[in-house]
Symmetry: C2
Subunit: 190 residues, 2 copies
Amino acid sequence: MRTSPVQTDTPQLSTTSYAVLGLLTFGDHSGYDLMKLAERSIAYFWAPTKSHLYGELKRLSRLQYVAERHIEQKDRPDKRIYSITDSGRQALVDWMSNSEVAPEPVKSELTLRVFFGHLVDRATLLAQIKEMRRHAHKELDQMRAIERTIKDEPELFYPYLTLRAGLAIKRAKIRWADYVIDALLTREEP
Amino acid sequence: MRTSPVQTDTPQLSTTSYAVLGLLTFGDHSGYDLMKLAERSIAYFWAPTKSHLYGELKRLSRLQYVAERHIEQKDRPDKRIYSITDSGRQALVDWMSNSEVAPEPVKSELTLRVFFGHLVDRATLLAQIKEMRRHAHKELDQMRAIERTIKDEPELFYPYLTLRAGLAIKRAKIRWADYVIDALLTREEP
DNA sequence: TCAGCCATGTAATGGGTTACATGATTGA
DNA sequence: TCAATCATGTAACCCATTACATGGCTGA
């Protein structure tokens, strides 16, 4: 006896597709506009490249999850404006409602390097940790600036929550970097 | 005028290849053993699948970064034992010494869902956050157990540092989850 | 008896990046 | 005059995952 496979009426999309659909719930956009919007909103935790984004738009259009209309322009390149359709919205909500959130594997090349720290001298490793810390701090500052502008806007409640995630992760990374730097300096070179 | 391209004597490998080379600096291993070793060491920040690992071993062998010897066994399947070569070690150290550590883009599907939280009801989102929190806590407990056993072993200094990274990140995620849960419950449903 | 360990891999697919391609307009 | 903005995409590639395939031994 075997169980019948689960019937999924909605085809499986990539997460990036859902991200695009999600952004379109805020209004119609061209591919170009979506890219810019993504860069200043979801890019801290989901950063598609423009090639990829254009590709997904084409796919979503074939599936009729988005509708496109062509806009001719004289002084600028023509463009396509996309809007989410009812079935697109349905697919998005289905995805959002699916409670099986896959555990997210962490990937960190720098941590891998630290793991193999015995292979290089201290200064080399220190420089890389410090570089990471510098970069993380820069991003933290950017996020703090955004925080100030959005924290009291009720309609940005959910984006604000995600910003808090970014702040929490960056702070944790910076504190870890401080710990590692201290540990490397304190420890007598073997 | 154009600048001449940078001559890289060492071919570019995937990070997973470097991870494999790194693990081989701790001693010779078969593919199977490497997989197990990876699972209980670097998997928290770099988790290759076995197919991938076997593939990279093959490639590293072609490049002569690892040497393999075939071991025949009667009661078990034959196996190949890999060891890192001098040029393999050199390639690894070159990679470790390269100071340009690429910034690591964060990818979080869950955060993406939170960003689009306006599309689903509160209970749906809450359940997903709680599930993430539960999972993170389980991993945190595992790491804490490992921490107790390795924190005073001087030869595990670098692995310990990476464990601290894992602990820091997990804790940050759990605290963020708590914040979000509270914020969702406090807020009156719009 | 049955799950789990040992041990290796292939094939198919997908998700995503990088490089390449074009070209007018606008503001510093 | 020079960089940036607007606007779209194709082609090549690669890193990685999933599913598939095999089969004897060991211990609960």
